[in-house]
């Protein structure tokens, strides 16, 4: 299956008579052959519009989309070698499963035998054997989703597009489908662009995640890069949860950064980014990196809120006029606190990430 490279070059899309709504505001993105890239962001960030621009259902106000180096700007959607899986599946209600899946092949004028063969292969792939004669309304949500996927895959597209395909499924089914989609994509090696607002989905599926905000790319990187080295507050807060502690740089030497933390000094080794002495910063630490102890620790704190969730316990702890969110895994193996308890906190220096802070 031929796979493609996709390049978004300064893509802009505005809506409204005077172009007041800048849905996509200068997107630059390079997607490599066979790569799974997710466009992740809150509602209104432009991820769906970007996907529709790639598919050809919207036309760019400026900029271009290049497939294998060639511009797609004048290519209508039905001529693009891409297949899309829609949020609500968009199965043709008046056609059987077989007719739905074979629809695109009929348009390509494949012979009846070849169509039958291709459809059978892909239906097997998607665990839909024997359902060819069923009508869409007779299928469950998960089955409908698989038919939608089959319909796209049978086209052997160069690019596969997903528009929040799992948002209509229940949690368990969502997880199952996630695994299936990833497995399929890796096996078939198709360049894939996936849109979602669910960061767990993005993290589990993607080779790289493109975090979007207000029509622009905020950060692009692998899941671990995004999680461990967010370039902005927005990314740090959007992926996973984060504690932001106000601080400032006390001194900086080669490979070391000393900052102020709750009245004491904290030294970080090899932090990323340019920070000068006196610069205001945020210290970012993830809730699961904070250690709690009843007996001893670096800082004292008081538990303001405790939520027991079975596999984890989540605390809101007040220390030095700050509220720190803490998540403890396997709580049965350690101390479990209740609201009002006094306890100790440890904030390992290796768990901190530094981000610039704007004052005023």
């Amino acid at each position: 299956m031929k796979s493609a490279t996709l390049v978004l070059d300064n893509l802009v899309k505005t809506f409204g008579h005077q172009g007041e709504v800048r849905a996509v505001n200068g997107m630059n993105l390079e997607i490599h052959q066979g790569e799974f890239v997710t466009l992740l962001g809150p509602s209104g960030c432009g991820k769906t519009t970007t996907l529709r621009l790639i598919a050809g259902f919207e036309f760019p106000t400026a900029g271009q989309i290049l497939l294998n180096g060639e511009s797609l700007n004048d290519v209508p959607p039905n001529k693009r070698p891409m297949a899309m899986v829609f949020q609500n599946y968009a199965l043709f209600p008046h056609m059987s499963v077989f007719d739905n899946v074979s629809y695109g092949l009929k348009i390509k004028r494949q012979s009846t035998d070849l169509i039958r063969e291709n459809v059978e292969i892909v239906m097997q792939l998607m665990n839909l054997v024997g359902m060819g004669d069923r009508m869409p309304h007779q299928l469950s949500g998960g089955q409908q989703q698989r038919v939608a996927l089959a319909r796209a895959l049978v086209m052997q597209p160069q690019v596969l597009l997903f528009d929040e395909p799992l948002s209509n499924l229940d949690a368990k089914l969502r997880e199952q489908m996630r695994i299936e989609i990833r497995r399929l994509q890796q096996r078939l090696g198709i360049t894939t662009v996936y849109v979602t607002h669910d960061q767990a989905e993005a993290m589990s599926l993607s080779d790289r995640i493109a975090v979007m905000r207000d029509g622009q790319l905020e950060q692009i990187g692998t899941p671990s890069e995004i999680y461990q080295h967010p370039v902005s507050l927005f990314v740090a807060d959007f992926i996973g949860r984060a504690n932001f502690i106000e601080s400032s740089v006390q001194s900086r030497t080669d490979g070391q950064l000393t900052l102020e933390l709750f009245g004491r000094s904290l030294t970080l080794l090899a932090p990323q980014g340019e920070f000068f002495a006196g610069a205001p910063v945020y210290l970012v630490i993830r809730p699961e990196a904070v250690r709690v102890n009843r007996q001893a620790g670096s800082w004292t704190g008081e538990v303001k809120q405790a939520v027991y969730l079975g596999s984890t316990v989540e605390y809101e702890i007040e220390t030095h006029d700050h509220f720190i969110s803490v998540v403890v895994y396997n709580p049965q193996e350690g101390d479990i606190f209740e609201e009002g308890d006094q306890m100790f906190l440890d904030l390992p220096s290796t768990a901190f990430h530094v981000l610039p802070r704007r004052t005023g």
Binding site: P77, K79, R80, M84, F86, F92, P93
Partner: protein, 561 residues
């Protein structure tokens, strides 16, 4: 600014990339431009020319003209009020009351749609006229039904289905929890109705009122038959053309009639109908608490029953007239009227009309669907203009359309590319199409708005061109709307009078004109027989269309969200 132009050019280029779609666009724009806009433009140019100035002076100086204008406005107001009230009554009984015979009432509310333009008027004359069965023979009073009272009665009954259907949809879509909230806060039934229900229905009431006003102004059949000495603009135009052979006067009067008609129509179309936030899907949004107070319940029920009885009487009596020797006077049964219509001299009209309407119907249906698709699904500069032009065919009174056609096509156009059309069958077919397309477009637009665009996008992403998508995905899903568009077109064409009255010739006879003929010369029996046959043809056609366009597969149900 140049960016704006570049974008527009790119839009058009994309549209034309789809070769056959581009042809469709050309076809529909060509059709609308030539057969809707051009005739109107001719009327405007004639009625605003220098020769017309003299006509204006003469007409506007005469007190008679002002009397006619006032008559028209009064009639419009009267019919609109009465019709809206009737429609409201029937809709209210359907939705809010728990009484028997609701299905019967629903049928009554829709029945007048398929009826010929003279049926009710004739029945009314025979029943309530000077020698009326009910007025003179039963009650012994001598009542002159001709005039404003007769007009309002007949037209209210003929047109109230429009109000009924509009208000029915609105009432059904009203959120019952709003009324429940008001009750919960202590409001009594009457206060709830006055402060919650009624205000939310005002867009629907206003809509109906305005629509009925326009229909009344445009109607020709009733003023001719039962208007008596009460002349209105439509009948005055008729006199100018048929009686005086004066196209100039006709054009000038048409302009005078156009002003209130178009103003009111477009006010309703663009302002009032947009202001209703309830979607008219006909699906109940929740459980409505029926009115429990017996006084209210049964008095409204009685009123409904009374009106229904009247309607049944009026329509039923037509059958009586068709099979009796002299309608209302000699009740000896006879088949001579039917013989006249079906086999005798009158059969020609029956065959001609059915043939012409049958040709016009699929054309109007497809054209309407095409325009609806372009307007709803495609963005292009001038889309609003196309939308506007597609509605003109019905916004403009029929008589005006007729005159426009005469002015536009009574000589060859473009060096003979379009020959002289007046006097041919083609011009009648074109008139039918022009009058039916708006209804087709409207039902197409409503249906398309229910179909998820994702379906069409999915088809495109699988490689289908616009035409293939339209043919294989969209059209099957809007089949019910297409079907109702066809039925509407056929019924509308068969019962059309005002648009074609100036276009018929001895070679091409139309049933409605024949009915007028027979009625005017007192041969009510033949007229009644014509009406019965016309109704029969329309009902048969409806049945045939259901059979051919196909049983609904249930797919459309799934499209509803």
């Amino acid at each position: 600014m140049s960016e704006f132009i570049t974008l527009r050019i790119r839009e058009y280029r994309r549209l034309t990339q789809d070769g056959v779609l581009a042809i469709g666009l050309l076809l529909s724009i060509g059709f609308l431009g030539l057969f809707v806009v051009y005739p109107l433009a001719r009327i405007l140019s004639v009625s605003l020319s220098s020769e017309a100035a003299a006509v204006y002076q003469r007409l506007l100086a005469a007190r008679g003209t002002w009397r006619v204008i006032l008559n028209t406005l009064w009639m419009g107001l009267g019919v609109a009020s009465a019709g809206t009230l009737l429609g409201f009554l029937f809709a209210f009984v359907q939705v809010k009351l728990d009484v028997p015979f609701k299905r019967f009432f629903n049928l009554i509310g829709i029945l007048p749609v398929i009826s010929p333009p003279f049926a009710v008027a004739m029945s009314t004359i025979v029943l309530f006229g000077r020698s009326g069965l009910i007025t003179k023979q039963l009650l012994g009073i001598r009542y002159d039904i001709y005039g404003l009272d007769g007009l309002i009665l007949v037209m209210a009954i003929s047109f109230f289905p429009v109000a009924y259907l509009t208000l029915l949809g609105m009432m059904r879509a009203l959120d019952p929890s709003l009324e429940e909230a008001a009750i919960n806060l202590g409001a009594g039934r009457w206060r709830v109705f006055r402060t919650v229900t009624l205000p939310m229905l005002i867009p629907g009431i206003a809509s109906s009122f305005l629509l009925l006003f326009v229909e009344a102004l445009a109607d020709l059949a009733n003023p001719l038959l039962i208007g008596g000495n009460y002349t209105v603009l439509a009948s005055r135009i008729y006199l100018a053309i048929i009686g005086e052979y004066n196209l100039n006067t006709g054009a000038v009067l048409s302009l005078i009639l156009l002003v209130p008609s178009l103003t009111v129509f477009f006010f309703q179309h663009y302002w009032v109908s947009r202001r209703s936030y309830v979607s008219v899907t006909g699906k109940p949004a929740g459980h409505h608490q029926p009115i429990s107070s017996p006084w209210v319940k049964w008095s409204l029920f009685a009123l409904c029953l009374l009106v229904s009885g009247l309607v049944v009487l009026l329509y039923g009596f037509i059958f009586v007239g068709a099979v009796t020797k002299v309608w209302g006077i000699n009740y000896a049964l006879t088949l001579e009227h039917f013989h006249f219509v079906l086999f005798g001299y009158g059969s020609e009209a029956m065959i001609d009309t059915t043939l012409l309407a049958a040709i016009a119907t699929p054309v109007a249906g497809l054209m309407g669907m095409l325009i609806a698709f372009l307007v709803v699904r495609r963005k292009f500069a001038g889309r609003n203009l196309v939308d506007f032009a597609s509605v003109l065919g019905i916004a403009v009174p029929g008589t005006v359309v007729g005159i426009g056609f005469i002015l536009a096509f009574n000589q060859p156009l473009w060096g003979g590319l379009i020959p002289k059309l007046t006097g041919t069958a083609l011009i009648i077919i074109l008139a039918y199409v022009v009058r039916s397309v708006p209804g087709s477009v409207r039902s197409g637009v409503a249906a398309l708005q229910q179909v998820d665009t994702a379906m069409e996008e999915a088809s495109a992403s699988l490689g289908a061109s616009s035409v293939t998508t339209f043919r294989r995905i969209t059209l099957p899903l809007i089949k019910p709307a297409f079907l109702s568009g066809l039925i509407y077109s056929f019924a509308r064409s068969m019962t059309s009078l005002s648009a074609i009255i100036f276009l018929i010739t001895p070679r091409w006879r139309v049933m409605t004109a024949q009915i007028l003929n027979e009625a005017e010369t007192g041969r009510y029996g033949n007229a009644a027989a014509y009406c019965v046959v016309l109704i029969a043809i329309v009902i048969t056609a409806i049945g045939l269309m259901y059979a051919v366009v196909g049983s609904t597969t249930g797919a459309e149900r799934l499209v509803e969200r």
